[in-house]
């Protein structure tokens, strides 16, 4: 959709009385000012409450700040190089990727399936939808406590229930590295898949109905329709939703903090949670800031790529 004025409209306005024409010229010139005016609130707000704290954090990471002495002496990139040679940190970095992208795949699969299901018509859909949205709407800190109860080694509610129906796999969920990773990912996927479903529904309902009908009438099977018609049309929404969700998962420390606190043996640390543990509870502010800052480059790159793709796809 073109963002410039159509020739007809311009002529119409130009043909209007001189006062209107003058106003038009003023509009054109004033557009930039108006634009800045509209952007001002959000820019000021983010500048004060995000940009300034960010600068402060970057400063912390370049010094040997501690919670006792936040403004300490310069050490340059030493915190970063130290981190890189630290085994726990490298593990946390690896885990952050596994946790985020693994959860994302799970959420995408479940969310897509659920989304398509919810697009059908059937009785009781409203009620069921309210129930299905519960994992997302009950605050994460509280549902994670529920998962704690399920994974608890003594109560083993999950194991006992799955055992009752004959499921053979009964690990000590939070006590072994691999099950623990699966456990936190499951909790994260569970929490997030309703949101993915909603994104999909939003995307799907924005597709004009006749396009879908004509594709169906043309004899295209479901999968072909999905690939060639649906996906390209909902791609922008999916991308944005995906990126949002990725960033959200990558930077969220609640699930890990409440379930494993990085254990067992540091195998489930993720970057934000490690930053909090070392930076705040351990008091090494500089290290906490440095760990957190490691999260930025990855997403800056991903974001720029996404933005380029989105820009090109615009019809």
């Amino acid at each position: 959709m073109s963002l410039t004025r159509t020739p007809a409209a311009v002529e119409a306005v130009a043909a209007a009385p001189p006062r209107e024409a003058g106003r038009l010229r003023r509009f054109v010139r004033g557009e930039a000012a108006f634009g800045y005016l509209l952007m001002a609130p959000v820019l000021i707000y983010l500048g004060l409450l995000l940009f300034y704290p960010l600068l402060l954090s970057i400063w912390f990471s370049l010094t040997d700040a501690s919670t006792g002495q936040p403004f300490a002496s310069w050490v340059g990139l030493k915190n970063f190089t130290d981190l890189w040679s630290n085994e726990t940190f490298r593990l946390a970095l690896r885990n952050s990727f596994i946790f985020t992208f693994g959860s994302e795949i799970g959420k995408a699969i479940l969310g897509t399936a659920l989304g398509f299901l919810l697009l059908r018509r059937f009785r009781g859909k409203r009620v069921l939808r309210a129930l299905l949205v519960l994992p997302w709407t009950v605050p994460v800190a509280l549902t994670t406590l529920g998962w704690l109860l399920l994974y608890d080694p003594t109560f083993s509610m999950l194991n006992r229930t799955t055992g009752a129906i004959g499921f053979p796999y009964h690990p000590n969920w939070l006590g072994e590295p691999v099950p623990a990773m699966i456990a936190i990912m499951v909790a994260n996927i569970w929490r997030g898949f309703p949101f993915s479903a909603i994104i999909l529904i939003a995307g799907m309902t924005s597709i004009p109905a006749d396009i879908l009908e004509s594709a169906a009438l043309d004899g295209a099977g479901f999968l072909r329709r999905f690939h060639y018609v649906i996906v390209p049309m909902i791609a922008p929404i999916l991308f944005v939703g995906l990126l949002f969700d990725l960033v959200f998962s990558f930077t969220d420390l609640s699930v890990v903090y409440l379930l494993t606190k990085g254990g067992p043996e540091n195998t489930t640390h993720i970057l934000p949670e490690l930053a909090y543990q070392n930076g705040i509870q351990g008091g090494d502010l500089a290290q906490g800031a440095a760990i957190s800052l490691f999260m930025l480059p990855v997403f800056v790159i991903a974001c720029v790529i996404m933005l380029r793709i989105l820009r090109r796809r615009e019809i």
């Binding site: 634009g35 299901l117 944005v240």
Partner: protein, 299 residues
């Protein structure tokens, strides 16, 4: 409606694939199987939480009894404790207030910015857009200490719920700007042009034409901002220690976890009471939003 079209198209497929199975029944079976599957997944932890909230304390810690049913009689005592011995209602009210104002501020910030980025041409528009989105990548775990300094020294809002109202839009706004940009772009320029030709100023055109058409978008933004605000953990944890100002997530987890004592029954009760009303509210708006979108979609 697009969803109808989808039904039609899948039904067409079904008829091709298995003509002997009536298309209605096959669809129903698939739908219901799918629904059951997802209901089990989504609700299993919730059901466990619900049952735990009604179990007697001794039942909860008893490993011999089945987890999904009661051994001793169910009890309301945990809910009673929640309402009588903790400040649960205050926390719930705080959460509502915080989320409400977060939504308001987010809209105030995001709507103008999204409009500007979607419609107007001015230098650096693209860079601002990218910049706003990039701010989303800055994690709260990095910012909360400097933010505490700001909230304590410069505005003295620490330990009140207004601290959260001020800070939450930092992570709701970037995404909402993007959402709204998308919505504004689906509104054709001609509509606005027409309004201006009719004599409206630009601002009036926005208020009278654009905003009403983007109500679904605004609602979506409101829902997201509301939910994100409710979910937030670390800022609420750090900024507020006054029990009267805590939102429900922090209140429940901090007052009902004392040292190494977990008051499981009350915790689960609090969790459900906090989450279920929101789910109902969410569901209501979701309906509205989806229908609005499909009606507002313009070819």
């Amino acid at each position: 409606m697009a969803s109808d079209a989808l039904d039609v198209s899948t039904q067409a497929t079904a008829r091709e694939a298995a003509p002997w199975l009536s298309r209605g029944r096959k669809d129903s079976i698939v739908t219901w199987l799918g629904m059951i599957f997802f209901l089990v997944i989504a609700l299993f932890p919730i059901v466990v939480m619900a049952i735990t909230s009604f179990k007697q304390g001794s039942d909860i810690i008893d490993v011999q009894t089945p987890p999904l049913w009661f051994h001793r009689l169910p009890t309301f005592s945990h809910y009673v404790y929640l309402f009588e011995q903790t400040k649960f209602l205050t926390w719930a009210w705080n959460t509502i207030v915080i989320s409400f104002f977060t939504v308001v501020i987010t809209l105030i910030l995001a709507v103008p910015a999204a409009y500007a980025l979607a419609r107007l041409h001015f230098p650096n528009a693209e860079n601002f857009g990218i910049g706003i989105f990039l701010t989303y990548l800055v994690p709260p775990a990095l910012l909360f200490l400097p933010l505490t300094i700001i909230l304590s020294r410069y505005v003295n809002l620490i330990d009140t719920k207004w601290a959260l109202v001020v800070v939450y839009p930092t992570f709701t706004t970037p995404f909402c700007v993007w959402l709204l940009m998308g919505f504004f772009k689906t509104i054709p320029v001609e509509v606005e042009e027409a309004a201006r030709v009719d004599g409206c100023s630009r601002l009036q055109a926005i208020l009278r034409v654009v905003l009403p058409l983007s109500v679904p978008g605004l609602l979506t933004v409101a829902i997201f901002a509301f939910t994100l605000g409710m979910q937030e953990y670390i800022y609420a944890l750090t900024f507020i220690s006054n029990s009267l100002e805590k939102p429900v997530t922090i209140g429940v987890t901090s007052d009902l976890i004392r040292g190494d004592e977990y008051f499981w029954g009350e915790l689960m009760a609090g969790a459900l009471l906090a989450g279920i009303p929101v789910a109902i509210l969410y569901n209501f708006f979701l309906d509205h939003f989806v229908e609005g979108i499909s009606q507002g979609a313009i070819k």
